[in-house]
Symmetry: C2
Subunit: 345 residues, 2 copies
Amino acid sequence: MSVLVEVTRGFRVESWHMGAIAVVDTDGNMVSSIGDVESPVFPRSAIKGLQALPLIESGAADAFDLSTQALSISCASHNGEEIHVDTVKSMLSACGLTEDALECGAQSPKFEYDQAILHRNGVQPTAAHNNCSGKHAGFLCFAQKAGFDHQGYVKAGHPVQREIRSVLAQMTGVALDGDAWMDLCGTDGCSIPTYAIPLQNLAHAFARFGTGTDLSPTRADAAKRLRHAVAKAPYMVAGHDRFCSDVMGIFAERAFVKTGAEGVFCATLPDQGLGVAVKCWDGASRASEVLMAAVLDAFLPMSEGEAVAMEKWRSNKLINWNGLHVGDVKLVDGALSHLMQKKTV
Amino acid sequence: MSVLVEVTRGFRVESWHMGAIAVVDTDGNMVSSIGDVESPVFPRSAIKGLQALPLIESGAADAFDLSTQALSISCASHNGEEIHVDTVKSMLSACGLTEDALECGAQSPKFEYDQAILHRNGVQPTAAHNNCSGKHAGFLCFAQKAGFDHQGYVKAGHPVQREIRSVLAQMTGVALDGDAWMDLCGTDGCSIPTYAIPLQNLAHAFARFGTGTDLSPTRADAAKRLRHAVAKAPYMVAGHDRFCSDVMGIFAERAFVKTGAEGVFCATLPDQGLGVAVKCWDGASRASEVLMAAVLDAFLPMSEGEAVAMEKWRSNKLINWNGLHVGDVKLVDGALSHLMQKKTV
């Protein structure tokens, strides 16, 4: 078990986080790792890019003429801002449905600023505000194109989830066929199944997602279109003041990064042919963000300007209610050099 | 390092938390402990009970005729509900000041429900909404009674903070005199100094706070009045859906429990003559609450009805956006029996 992130206050360490990191190439070779990358981990929303593949592979994205914004939000854990909600509604409208078809549950926008708009207007948040509503709108477009009854599309037995399970098995190499998935399954915040998969397999899946290696032409093209869409419309994948939107705004198609609940992060660096998977064991996003920033520092060549732009996420400043800088969430000394040795440590 | 709390999803462990627990008697003997209880830890808001002692010892509480509610909120990390804000304003008014004198910084109420009231009314949150405003109002009452210039009362060199440092040194046995405090000091969220103190010393301080052991009659009486006030007005110390208010609502003067930021919790069980201090090393309150509930299970005799009422806090249910129970934050097997052996493990 490795302490990778420390939380300082003044000159002292107040708290700390343990985690694991897998960096894998397109052949599945471990390029660098820290901690346990072999135990199954729920990837949660960090694999939304993989879960969106059937939306394109099925022809639904073309049939419903989905925009770049729509493809980006199909991979999103968004803030529930007005622009996110409107994009989701346009996807549902395109496939002949309304937000009543969403089965993700109502959720308030992430930040108080956006909640306040609803409060002032006397509007209740709906399932369209749910951070997963773009992914769910993508599921519904897929179901409509494929001719499935969309009711119950979040359930493990529904054809939508069966297809996603098949995609995940193919991409990660983890057996999820027959009943094998049942022991690996939990229910996600938005009610779809989530399957526990080792970090090394998640990282390999993202190396292939980023490069198309060993994928069918159809799948390789679908992955490329999703990466392109998120790079062109990074605000859709998260929103204001969020790691994923900021970082893809900086690096565009050179980095596809996606956070998930409980301290998970996945990424691919296509030009380097690398996939990445991160887990902070206590589930803290403040730590998984710092870890993902460290992976980018270690493996993604960047200009001085890009390195400066990343500073905000490399070390998460703790600012108190009077605006004083009282501490930092930051990588422990030595962790970056471990990663950069580019071998298993 | 001890994994004490696990976060499950379905039948799998998704995340976990490490922590330390010290249970100490009035003589400073370790009754039970898990993990490192000797390294200094920032106690943050978990010691607000100790920080409120000068409010009573100085005669300010009597001079300004402070209510039971006011004494309770002087120990509080409250939700910023209307009743909390009103109580704080009444304390400030009693000592001849307004909320402009508060130096804790503006903070929104903790929960969206209370934020929404402000949004609908077009009201900006102020320092009176800050979760620490009750403590700060107590500081200001103390400053006014003592005749100090209240400006800068949050600074380490101000007589208010000097007196609190003296109280903490006496109660915990940690040297904070001269310049000794400087190496132990960080700045809290509300801008006052916080001093790193080992869990074993914090626990001993609370054993004395709960029993009056080895305290002057004035201090023993002040501690008793604060414990009595919080037991009589537990809603003031936190508010809706909060561990501290709920638990003191159940046990009244049989348990004084107080949370702090970054996974700290302190308590005293006066009838048992015990003090308690807990730290979740990654800073998660969801874990420190489960640990404090475990300490109560282990050391506080309770009726069947009380044990049932504690269930909500003993295991923190994870409910998703559709209201499904998808997992739990709960004590690991074996941790409770370790604690109940009533000796250092």
